[in-house]
Amino acid sequence: MWLLQSSIGKKLIMSISGLFLLVFLLLHMSVNFVSIISGEAYNEACHFMGTNIFVQIMVPVLAAGFVIHIIYACVLTLQNQKARGSDKYASSSKTKVPWASKNMFVLGIIVLGFLGMHLMHFWTKMQLSEWLGEEQALGYTLVSALFKNPLYAVLYLVWIWALWFHLTHGFWSAFQTIGLNNGKWIPRLKVIAYIYATVIAVGFTIIPIFFWLVPGK
């Protein structure tokens, strides 16, 4: 099957799963943002996420999206290392390329590490407990308590900026992979990639800073 066997087929899988995750991130950030505006509205949004039928269907789809993206990240990275050959260059490469583009796998791993912690801290206590019919922790209380822990807040920031780098390359790369690109659009998509990545990263960053700076919250 060409989709699973050819290089471009595998890259298509990477691209589609990546684009899907990009959309998810935007949604996730929007919901988080509500927590700054109003604690009550945020708790309501959390409840909605735990009960709405469409959201419940999308959760396994999202999980599958992640799993596929990660599996293919490993497959492609291993194949590429093999293609590089057993004898390595002695002089380190001086070719100028964006740093993120060379480090997509490492950046992905950082994102993944945090993802595990994140699911443990929030997802099990919020969406999962809603499913199990247990009493759902109030999203708002949970968030403000965790972010008061400086270690957690710092890890969170590391994660966000690893994600920023991943997205600055991933965003335009995904379009290039499906062939929706040309000489005119390559520079444009790169700019849009920076805008998108920055909106996501700043959006996610404002939240812990907010909980630090506003003691009453």
Partner: protein, 251 residues
Amino acid sequence: MDKTINITLKIWRQKNPKTKGNFETYPLKNISIESSFLEMLDILNEQLIHEGKEPVVFDHDCREGICGMCSLYVNGHPHGPDEDVTTCQLHMRKFKDGATITVEPWRSAGFPVIRDLMVDRTAFDKIIQAGGYVSVNTGGVPDANSIPISKINADEAMDSASCIGCGACVAACKNASAMLFVSAKVSQLALLPQGRIEAAHRAKAMVAKMDELGFGNCTNTGACEAECPKNISISNIARLNREFLTAKIKD
């Protein structure tokens, strides 16, 4: 008199594909900065022959930047530190007096070393044989405007056709991907009516051959474009992806 420099060369020596190679260091004195990099290597080889040693083997042919035979990974750059030139067009004025210059062969699983700095690039010929042609004779130069071709397409086809098949793109790529080469060869024909007819088959066959020969998967780092002596653009890679994916989806 030309200005001259003294340099130290660190060169990869390897007897044959099977044996393990190693770096040898050669000091070289009074090299004119006007000489080309390959002329400098000729001087080294002359010196080695006089000393009764084996000369360094490297690929070259036209020495005017058009044949694609020369290679060499010089100080971390395929074709050396100069922009948009092949190694034969690289000059010694790009190096400082007293510099140490590291010279290595192209490295990738698809290009095994034959000897010293010479690698086997027949993989590229095999990819071309898989579909990089038009099957019918399209005759001589047609009358102007007898087949209308837009200026944009004509220009882009010409730009893609300037690829000389040197393999610097593979050498530069962290994934040893041959996508820049293959996309240039697919584009130069896909953009013109004579090549359009077989475009779908060509894209599929050439990509299949490229994968089979052990080149890596493109992750769009753009290292190829940065090092290509002919400035082939990665917009060709987007076109190849498009050609390949539409051909497969139509099947």
